[in-house]
Symmetry: C2
Subunit: 184 residues, 2 copies
């Protein structure tokens, strides 16, 4: 599972593996950077090529990308959306399915609360992946959180079915956050 | 000169050639469509491949893309931004420079007024390219307008210099619109 926390200046990428019993294992994490002094087209090209490298190296089953909303930070949202689009195309051209998850879904999946703070998400990522400390920078940890989120998605939420029994508290919070996001 | 009027459902593409004396000649125009029933990653992949085809066929000197602002239509702006990003990357990976122009710049360049209506822009595109009627659909005409805009950009405006003398009324309007856009 490869997670992408899109951004034009810093884009987090994180890879986790699903061992038996859906336990997540850390594989790799990093940040793709582009030079703010370059023109946007060259920055996007740099990032696009890095996505190709990550996908060719790790050959994930799914690419999980943070869903970008137009209401977010107006100053950076266009670049963020463009980077998310490049991640989607990099996956699609390899036949790899793409999943979009909202920040609330990620927080809910990783911490059990859709309103958790950044630091709490990062602590939980470290704990869940049995790392001594959260991967730095935060973008890398956020990308890992996205990958974990997709790994732990409740089957009922994705299939739109009524399988709400048997969910963990985190999975119930995830489903609630997803329902809220769908109403937007 | 290849112009792109980005959009996820309909993306206009127009190619004009610059004959001697900067007179624009129509080369080709069309619309790239993607299926709204498909997932966004597959739609973006379709569009990305179409950009590749257009650029490989026409080998433009410059790709002019409409600048997308976050304030625009919230429902479609993310897809529009992503398609604009793909056009930029398609150009950048071929070493083709990218120019971004605002809708006001396009209107000013083509009609002489940054506040011209859609229909007026389309009529002027037909007239400037000596076509019997405006290319349909409107997205194709808008893409041609973008290409014309880049062709006619006033040298002073691009270089940030003080060459304001000798501009046509349309070029002065263009420069004014560009200055306004830079202040946003």
């Amino acid at each position: 599972m490869l997670g992408v926390d899109p951004g034009l200046t810093r884009c987090g990428v994180g890879v986790v593996d699903a061992a038996a019993g859906r336990r997540a294992t850390f594989v790799a994490a990093g940040v793709i950077r582009s030079d703010p002094l370059q023109s946007v087209d060259l920055r996007l090209l740099t990032i696009s090529r890095e996505f190709d490298t990550w996908l060719d190296e790790h050959i994930p089953d799914v690419v999980a990308v943070e869903r970008v909303f137009a209401q977010h930070n107006v100053g950076t949202v266009m670049g963020t959306a463009q980077v998310a689009g490049l991640a989607m195309v990099a996956a699609a051209k390899r036949g790899i399915p793409v999943a979009l998850h909202t920040p609330s879904e990620v927080k809910a999946a990783v911490t059990g609360s859709g309103r958790a703070g950044k630091a709490q998400v990062q602590r939980m990522v470290a704990q869940l992946l049995r790392l001594a400390e959260a991967p730095k920078p935060a973008d890398a940890a956020d990308a890992l959180a996205l990958a974990i989120t997709h790994l732990w998605r409740p089957a009922g939420a994705l299939q739109g079915g009524e399988r709400s029994g048997g969910l963990t508290p985190a999975q119930r919070a995830w489903a609630t956050a997803e329902q809220a996001a769908r109403k937007r």
